[in-house]
């Protein structure tokens, strides 16, 4: 068990290193200039490139980059974005905003998704069921930023209940629309999953038994149906968090939220391409993704004994094959 987790962690680190290397190379072959300038002389730009070490061979640059991260624990300074402001000054605030809105979105997604899913399952075949099914299909199909524009039009322009633009001083209120639109996909997925799982559980023998013993209503739903239906649902939430990260790229840009998604877009599509910001954000995104997946693997392993069993079975099978192999030869 410990060995399995250890192996997964090592694999995650190796993956991250490979991604960093690929990112580093990709960023450098992207078109665009890290020091966009229409007024500086070629010599001055050359000097700036040298200051950032861009005149060295690319593998040396990569080595320096990794050495700098390991020794100082920081990603250094930007080249063009915010005129070279240190990444350590800009990134934490952006992460804070993204994570807060992402957190609200996850809460919305899970909570509303659960409510919809449960309502649909309890009213199987009736209006609510169809309503929730249609709603969740629409939710899965509509990209979050389209929903965002829709929300903005109706709830900030036609009926001004929410602020039209995002601003930090009304953080919560102005987070609601972007969080809702970000949560649309996870909401629909959770709703569909919950409905299906609950229906399956409701048809099972032990629920029939519970009912025949006189258990009914809320108690039956919460104690017996929901608890059993929830286990698979927990497992879909983790990948949904990852989906949120990618949705945030567009929603943050449209709604003007100063988060990591907008930062990423700005670093790539600004006046110049900021190598260091793109890299730092790329590494951050990859770390989040790999981290969540790793956590999920470990949690699976802890929760579901079958994974461990399969592992042992596999080992046994391999050993058996080994024994058989010489015999066959």
């Amino acid at each position: 068990m410990a060995k399995y987790i250890f192996k997964r962690i090592i694999m995650a680190i190796v993956t991250l290193f490979i991604i960093t290397f690929l990112l580093f190379m990709l960023v450098r072959i992207m078109p665009g200039n890290p020091f966009p300038s229409e007024r500086m002389s070629a010599e001055a730009i050359e000097k700036k490139r040298a200051e950032m070490g861009l005149d060295k061979p690319i593998l040396v640059q990569f080595g320096d980059y990794i050495a700098n991260i390991v020794s100082t624990g920081s990603f250094g300074k930007g080249s063009s974005l915010y005129n070279g402001a240190p990444i350590a000054t800009v990134l934490p605030k952006a992460m804070g905003n993204s994570f807060k809105i992402g957190g609200i979105a996850i809460c919305f997604g899970v909570f509303i998704g659960l409510v919809l899913g449960i309502a649909a399952a309890l009213n199987r075949g009736k209006f609510w069921d169809v309503f929730c099914t249609v709603l969740s299909i629409i939710g899965v199909c509509i990209p979050s930023y389209v929903f965002m524009i829709f929300l903005q039009y109706f709830f900030a322009y036609k009926l001004p209940v929410f602020p039209f633009y995002f601003n930090n001083r009304q953080f919560f209120v102005s987070s609601i629309m972007p969080a809702l639109s970000l949560s649309l996909f996870s909401m629909s997925t959770v709703a569909r999953f919950t409905r299906n799982e609950m229906v399956e559980v409701m048809d099972s023998d032990y629920v029939l038994l519970a009912e025949s013993k006189g258990m009914y209503g809320t108690k039956l739903v919460t104690r017996h149906i929901l608890r059993n239906a929830l286990i698979p649902i927990v497992t879909v939430i983790a990948p949904l968090i990852v989906d949120l990260l990618t949705g945030a790229l567009v929603v943050e840009k449209i709604y003007g939220i100063n988060g990591i998604g907008k930062l990423m877009v700005d670093a790539i599509t600004g006046e110049g391409i900021d190598y260091n910001y793109v890299l730092a954000l790329g590494i951050l995104y990859s770390t989040l993704y790999i981290g969540i997946m790793l956590l999920l693997d470990i949690v699976y392993c802890l929760l579901d004994p079958r994974i461990r069993v399969t592992e042992k079975k596999g080992k046994r099978r391999r050993e058996a094959e080994k024994k058989e192999a010489p015999a066959a030869a």
């Binding site: 229409e38 915010y82 005129n83 009304q170 391409i273």
Partner: protein, 556 residues
């Protein structure tokens, strides 16, 4: 089931309460607090590092220079109460008034000396404003290009309130250069107390001495606020309480934001102008202002991987320039009030100090070389074909697809107009980001490019200086000794002390540019602004500081 109903009710009530807060606080129109749109991110508040108009605007809200712009763009005293100029025009002595930084320290002559010398120690976009091509501050060339000690720059704090600036040659527009943020002061002790690269990244790492104080800002922020500075030396004239800037990425969001009272000043696109004009209420709010920068075509005159070098032929360039219907471009494609331009220096930003006349007020002055005249274009074209011994040409035209909604349409219109008027010419359009376009132009890996230039200072030289041999912005690699000689005489030679003679010489230089169609000027960009009723006195400028709020009033 009851529990779920309860939960639903709870959720809905939370959302309703939240929406109440929202409803209370979205109303923008409280007296003296205005909401202004920025189209792009503010990149930096460090006066040395900032390069974009939005950054300059917010910097100038918060920091005064030696001079500031009046409503017409002329330099009027700001931190310098007065100044003396030596007889040879090469020494300026500025007498500073009593003003305070936002940490209570007095603004001194040493703050200017520190800031300027600091700029000399780094490779910065606006360093060239110090060298002999523009500001001609003593020793700037030696420091910037020959590695001399930055401490030798010709700026000296004679005492706390007296600042002496020495120039290499007289610069007729020097006072108006002083309102450009690159020449603003920085308090040394405060600057050094901020971490490396931290200066100007938050209200706590930024000092103000201007009409407003920075209240809310982080790099990349979508909204930022400045509030009135009660200790400003001219505080009596400032009537706005606060300005909140909102970064709005699309013009649709800008228009809706204005209509829903979330913005008091918004810039709309050419597409929207017609709709705005049709709307009786909105059309009252429309105000077109000069944005300063001029769009033009540049032609690579060398043989490179994208061009066969045939554009080195002046007649071919003249043919293209005369085949373009600029009025149609601004009326049908740009549509925001931009002005068709037939001069190498755009109108409305550089006026003569002696006669007050706009350098390019007369747009017909070079009608012999530039205009929309298909017959003339064909004549030039026939001459070019004879000279080159070819009768078909294929050019690739590059343009930025992130430089405004209208640029793609303009590029397509130019293709149609030129191909229609001059049979045998094919123009292939190639879209890319602005950064890629610049990179291609700088590496001379292009054929024709649709590009733009905004004036950095109020003198025709900000445009004409670009076409000298070896200038970094001379993307066509055009070279004309006669032209170089005129420009040299205007910056460092015979004409520096004779204002009118210099002005006339610049006119000659401009004629040379158009006679050979070094560039094909297209149009001078305007901004179609929506300004809320009751907001008066916001000063719009095509050069240096786009909007100045010091004299603005807002009554609702």
């Amino acid at each position: 089931m009851k529990k779920f109903k309860k939960m639903l009710v709870a959720l809905l009530s939370v959302m309703m309460i939240a929406s109440l807060f929202g409803a209370v606080s979205v109303s923008a129109d409280q007296g003296g607090d205005i909401y202004v749109m920025f189209a792009t991110n503010v990149m930096s508040l460090d006066t040395n590092l900032a390069t974009d108009g939005d950054s300059f605007e917010i910097i100038a809200d918060c920091i005064d220079g030696l001079t500031q712009m009046d409503a017409d763009g002329a330099a009027v005293p700001a931190l310098a109460e007065s100044w003396d100029v030596s007889e040879d025009g090469c020494t300026y002595t500025f007498h500073l008034r009593d003003a305070k930084w936002s940490n209570g320290e007095p603004v001194t002559a040493a703050d200017f000396e520190f800031a300027w010398k600091l700029a000399m120690t780094a490779n910065l976009e606006y360093n060239y404003l110090f060298d002999t091509s523009v500001g001609a501050i003593k020793n700037a060339d030696a420091i910037l290009y020959e590695g001399a000690d930055p401490a030798t720059l010709g700026i000296t704090a004679l005492d706390e309130k007296t600042l002496q600036v020495e120039l290499e040659v007289p610069v007729s527009f020097f006072p108006s250069l002083m309102y450009f943020p690159a020449f603003y002061p920085i308090n040394q002790a405060f600057y050094e107390s901020c971490g490396d690269g931290e200066y100007g990244t938050s209200p706590y790492t930024f000092l103000c001495n201007g009409a407003f104080l920075l209240d809310d800002y982080v790099p990349g922020a979508a909204s930022m606020t400045v509030v009135k500075n009660p200790d400003y030396w001219d505080a009596d004239r400032v009537s706005l309480n606060s300005i909140t800037y909102q970064v709005v990425g699309s013009s649709d969001q800008a228009l809706t934001g204005f209509k829903s009272n979330n913005l008091d000043i918004a810039t709309v696109s050419g597409d929207q102008v017609a709709a705005v004009k049709d709307d009786a209420a909105l059309s009252e709010n429309l105000k077109v202002t000069g944005a300063g920068y001029m769009w033009y075509l540049t032609f690579s005159q060398t043989e490179n991987s994208s061009s066969d070098g045939s554009l080195a032929n002046a007649n071919l360039r003249l043919a293209i320039s005369n085949a373009i219907d600029r009025e149609s471009l601004v009326d049908n494609y740009v549509m925001d009030g931009s002005i068709a331009t037939y001069t190498a220096v755009p109108p409305q930003f550089a006026a003569s100090a002696t006669t007050g006349e706009d350098f390019s007020g007369d747009q017909t002055k070079f009608a012999d070389y530039i205009g929309f005249n298909v017959d003339k274009a064909k004549e030039f074209y026939e001459a070019a074909k004879a000279e080159l011994g070819k009768d078909s040409f294929t050019f690739t035209m590059i343009y930025g697809n992130n430089e405004g909604d209208e640029v793609t349409k303009v590029a397509q219109a130019i293709k149609e107009q030129v191909e229609g008027a001059l049979p045998g010419i094919t123009i292939d359009l190639q879209a890319m980001t602005k950064a890629e376009r610049l990179e291609k132009m700088q590496n001379d890996d292009y054929c024709v490019a649709l590009t733009r230039w905004g004036p950095d200072y109020a003198d025709p030289m900000t445009y004409l200086g670009m076409w000298t041999t070896g200038n970094a912005n001379n993307y066509g690699f055009w070279s004309n000794p006669e032209y170089d000689a005129i420009i040299k005489d205007c910056t460092a030679g015979a004409y520096v002390s004779d204002y009118d003679a210099r002005w006339a010489a610049l006119y000659q230089a401009e004629e040379l540019v158009l006679k050979e169609a070094v560039i094909a000027p297209l149009y001078t960009k305007a901004n179609a602004n929506l300004i809320t009723a009751g907001l008066e006195g916001v000063e719009f400028h095509p050069v240096a500081l786009n909007r100045v709020y010091k004299n603005a009033t807002f009554s609702k």
